[in-house]
């Protein structure tokens, strides 16, 4: 955590000084970005945009206030990595339940009316991420993000109690998206308000009005699948009640148990089957008592005494997806600049089973946030915004494919060894699939395809452990100047900056050459990309990882670019140079070419954009030219 660059301030350094006029409590006529909906996608986007003081953002929400309860709760490793960039990982890890192991239960072969533990696996493969898979109520996740917004210079809060009634686009206006809003509180005046925005993002859920306005439709499953979901405080003698447990009974149905934060609360997912026109009404009317009875039946011979139901819902969802996540195709089929985006459930819906919905939605917001930031700060051309739909739509499709497979497996009856002809899923198969699918559910399987932001894999061999298009997989290092053990990936803050991780060559000459080039060459992409009077790392943030033990590094010998002078006082930033940790050598750990080193280019949302030789200045510039607006 760096602060006090421009002088010491008293108070909490995590809270930015308030901008003049902040907070602006009245909804303005115009705004740079209007976000519709304060769910996970909308709040990650808002939290990201709140980090750019020059950008005006508003977020409107139908509800009268913040979410208090319920809905999603699974937080994938990848999401915790993102939360680290927002400064939220510690409190999340402190408060959440950690999914350490998952157990599988199946009908006891000796007595098929009862269940028996058949497997126990580590939930997350060792080394997959520096963070665990955790569980916490979606309301708390949203509170954390609201807190980030509140601490920003704009002291940013959502505008609650407003819903969209109309969205129009008028490209003759500097603020081409006109959104008409209506108050949802019957007690307040019902006149309509129009906000004109440069960009609008619909994070307004599966019934998105923004989606409808841009003519997109959720397509996919003909039918929905239903789950009874219950957060309960209960007493049971089922021994795995504090482990994630997938339970298949012989004839009573299937149950997924997810322990929750605080040590007592447990979430139960009871499978209610496919929704048909015939059964829809009866499924919708499933009572909490029925859910409890079903869970009790499945858990037999163990008892379940529910003392308090904190939240309950019959959750009905199909796996559906829109064709695009923006309005870059005009109604007449011609291409145009995207001005309206959709994110989260507005453009893709998933079964609850793989615990992916909230996580993927937040990654939508993280993907779009820095891009809107770069365009609105005039660092990038609008072309950048096309990559949002291009990148995220295929990822959502992949997720749905995965989710379908997974949900089908979870929903199918277990195979009866006595009656193999009756079909069903072999519990061993379910467990094996679970292990294979681990990277997916951890959120680290996402791989963006070759494109404007994802380079060709020509030099991938220089850094095998940082696959281009995938998230930067952090590893421990030592920071040279203060000998602190840190995670290299945690250099990435959610500040819209690109990171250039330069892993030194054996001799160090190529690293020095790169630093000299970037610092002084007239064609240096770093010099060209940095606005006048801005800190030298304000667009491209160079970090170096050296090969020698940290006590052998002489700070005096570091290239000047690794000790840059910054801020109003020209202070030295000492946090640019690292070396391998004694216990974990990052060069080995991530397959870096020790002889030649490697330059790993990482996007503001933590994805590896390119891997290049340290001395391939031309290719580095060529990669950034289409992305950055240069003089």
């Amino acid at each position: 955590m760096q602060f006090y660059l421009n002088g010491l301030r008293t108070g909490d350094p995590m809270t930015e000084p308030a901008a003049e006029g902040a907070p602006q409590t009245v909804l303005p006529d115009t705004t740079d970005v209007l976000i519709v909906g304060s769910g996970p996608a909308g709040l990650v986007l808002a939290a990201q945009l709140s980090q750019f003081p020059s950008i005006r953002t508003r977020i409107v929400e139908r509800r009268a206030g913040p979410l208090l309860m319920g809905q999603a709760d699974g937080v994938a490793c990848r999401t915790v990595e993102m939360f680290e960039a927002f400064g939220l990982s510690e409190r999340l890890l402190r408060e959440a339940y950690w999914v350490n192991e998952t157990v599988f239960w199946r009908p006891d072969a000796q007595d098929r009316g009862t269940i028996k533990r058949t497997g126990r696996v580590q939930d997350t493969e060792t080394g997959l991420s520096e963070f665990p898979h955790v569980i916490v109520n979606q309301a708390r996740i949203q509170d954390y993000l609201l807190d980030v917004m509140r601490r920003s210079a704009q002291r940013f809060e959502p505008d609650y109690g407003l819903e969209v009634v109309d969205v129009q686009r008028d490209d003759t206006d500097d603020y081409p998206v006109h959104v008409t809003l209506q108050c949802t509180d019957a007690g307040r005046p019902q006149e309509l308000v129009t906000v004109r925005a440069r960009y609008v993002v619909g994070c307004d859920g599966a019934r998105s009005r923004v989606r409808t306005a841009i003519g997109q439709t959720l397509r996919g499953d003909a039918a929905n699948h239903a789950w009874g979901v219950m957060d309960a405080l209960a007493v049971t003698d089922f021994p795995d009640i504090r482990l994630k447990a997938a339970i298949q009974s012989a004839s009573k149905g299937n149950l997924l148990i997810i322990p929750r934060e605080g040590g007592y609360l447990v979430r139960f997912y009871v499978d209610l089957g496919e929704v048909t026109p015939e059964n829809r009404d009866s499924i919708k009317q499933t009572t909490v008592d029925r859910i409890i009875e079903t869970a009790q039946g499945i858990l037999h011979p163990y008892s379940l005494d529910v003392k308090e139901v904190a939240w309950f819902s019959v959750y009905e969802v199909g796996q559906r997806l829109t064709e695009r996540f923006d309005d870059a195709l005009a109604p007449d089929g011609t291409a145009r600049e995207p001005r309206i985006f959709i994110a989260g459930d507005a453009c893709h819906t998933h079964s609850a089973k793989a615990g992916q919905g909230m996580n993927v939605s937040m990654q939508d917001g993280f993907n779009l946030g820095w891009k809107l930031g770069a365009v609105l700060q005039q660092r990038s051309d609008v072309e950048l915004l096309r990559t949002y739909s291009d990148e995220r739509q295929p990822i959502a499709q992949e997720l749905i494919d995965f989710d379908k497979e997974w949900s089908a497996m979870m929903a199918a009856p277990p195979k009866d060894p006595g009656r193999p002809e009756a079909g069903g899923v072999d519990p061993a198969e379910l467990q094996a699939y679970f292990v294979r699918a681990g990277r997916y559910t951890a959120g680290v399987a996402t791989r963006y395809r070759r494109g404007m932001l994802t380079g060709e894999a020509t030099h991938q061999a220089l850094a095998k452990g940082f696959p281009i298009g995938m998230r930067f997989h952090s590893a421990p290092v030592i920071r040279v100047a203060d000998a602190k053990p840190v995670h290299l990936g945690h250099a990435a803050r959610a500040d819209g900056r690109w990171r250039l991780y330069a892993f030194s060559d054996a001799g160090g000459n190529a690293l020095r050459g790169l630093c000299d080039h970037l610092a002084t060459a007239p064609g240096s992409i770093l010099r060209l990309a940095t606005p006048e009077h801005a800190d030298i790392d304000s667009v491209l943030d160079l970090r170096a990882v050296l090969q020698q033990p940290h006590r052998e590094v002489r700070l005096e010998d570091l290239p000047a670019l690794l000790l840059p002078r910054k801020g109003c006082h020209g202070l030295v930033d000492y946090e640019k140079a690292f070396t391998s940790d004694a216990a974990t050598d990052i060069f080995d750990e991530r397959g870096i070419d020790r002889e030649r080193g490697a330059l790993v280019v990482v996007r503001p949302d933590q994805y590896v954009a390119h891997v290049l030789p340290l001395d391939d200045y031309a290719e580095l510039s060529a990669f950034f030219r289409p992305i950055l607006r240069l003089p």
Copy 2:
């Protein structure tokens, strides 16, 4: 972190539901405890007392509001351990500078007008604590503690702008300490207010009026030592500016550099020598420019360009101590019940050099807090309160002895190898002393003597790594029910409860026997100590550490006392049983007798009170009988 035991609440689980009538903003006529002074000692005490909803506490402070800047900044490992019990360790570790290594510089033998690095050591011995030694402004430490108070059921805030003018004791009153207060704000009415309290604690600094009122005097050094202390944002080519650096120059003096939070700020301590009647005025008038010049001289040939001085003080202190920390000796020399206590600088002052003042003061508050809590909750007799002065006064004396030695070493001129007859300290000697003194400065050397709260070491061999009288040295374990890797010591919350850590014998029979005894025997100290209708762990919290790998433990086989039913719903607490971590076997790590096991009794302030055989029920009861008020 456990919460929702008595039902789910929305919002931040770290914030307790407000008690009726909280916050009470008007200073009441009577209170259980009145704390004078909101420095580190006073705020730790207040934060601790805020955890007991039935106890009424107020804290008055002369200043008009919270501390904003300056003063102490070193946070010893031991203090971070205590902060963990208050739920504050994550934010402290995130925000603070970590002291990873310390370097030593001395005059260059080739050119004694310049300095040269002569040593570099790890600051904290490996394994000394699970937490690092960190540095953060005292104002931030105090903010964290204020936050704990604010989140308590009482929504507790200090009463600012009030100073003590008189303290009287009248043992005929139920509230025997009468404190007269006056408003320090000249703009407010100046009438005097009297608050009557059951107990008063003077945490009002070196010029304590509470100390004067109980007739105690700080005794010790005839003269004070002076230091120029400056928090600065500076540019330098001194390569170790982000490491803790002890610098001895040949003739310009000595300098201690302490890097600070945020990556840019640095604290400089310049030695100004002993204060005599002759030089006092000139020392007091030392300007910040003079301090900067001196630092520049010492750092030669390196440059130092100070851009901003965030805080500056000439700090003049002697090593002094009072005879008692309470009023348990009446003016006529007879013993009486202690009603007035002093803590922190009010009863012991230290040189700034060893970075101990703030840490020891906070431990005073932590020591006294749970004792006042136990007596006011009628769990213990007033005898318990005598142990505060009995325990803390000798610790302060030891600290002063250590501090004197250390300060003398830091202040002495370095030995000139060319002129050994001139005396001075050999830099190698300084460095060696530093390494030896590491446990002291980490705050983990404190060892309470045999007494009411510190048992005889008869059975110490059963758990060699948990010395009786010293703080419980945590180690990693796996929590059985949810397979979570945790630190055993972090089971200790600042909640006034005792912990009984039962390390299983090889066969497990002795552990089972202990659990059965505690749960069911008529003479069980645990049953006797637990108030009717209270949770079974509300006074003595039993935790067990088993020997087998966690996947081999069958939850069904655990003694009932390790799966206790608690709260209004009778929910099961699953966080009582642990096993060794695969990487670190706590039995090996802490020298536990594998055959016989051990029972380690730990006080509410994390100190080991006793080590006993698992089956020595009689001795366990005998130990607690004088401490706990039993039926």
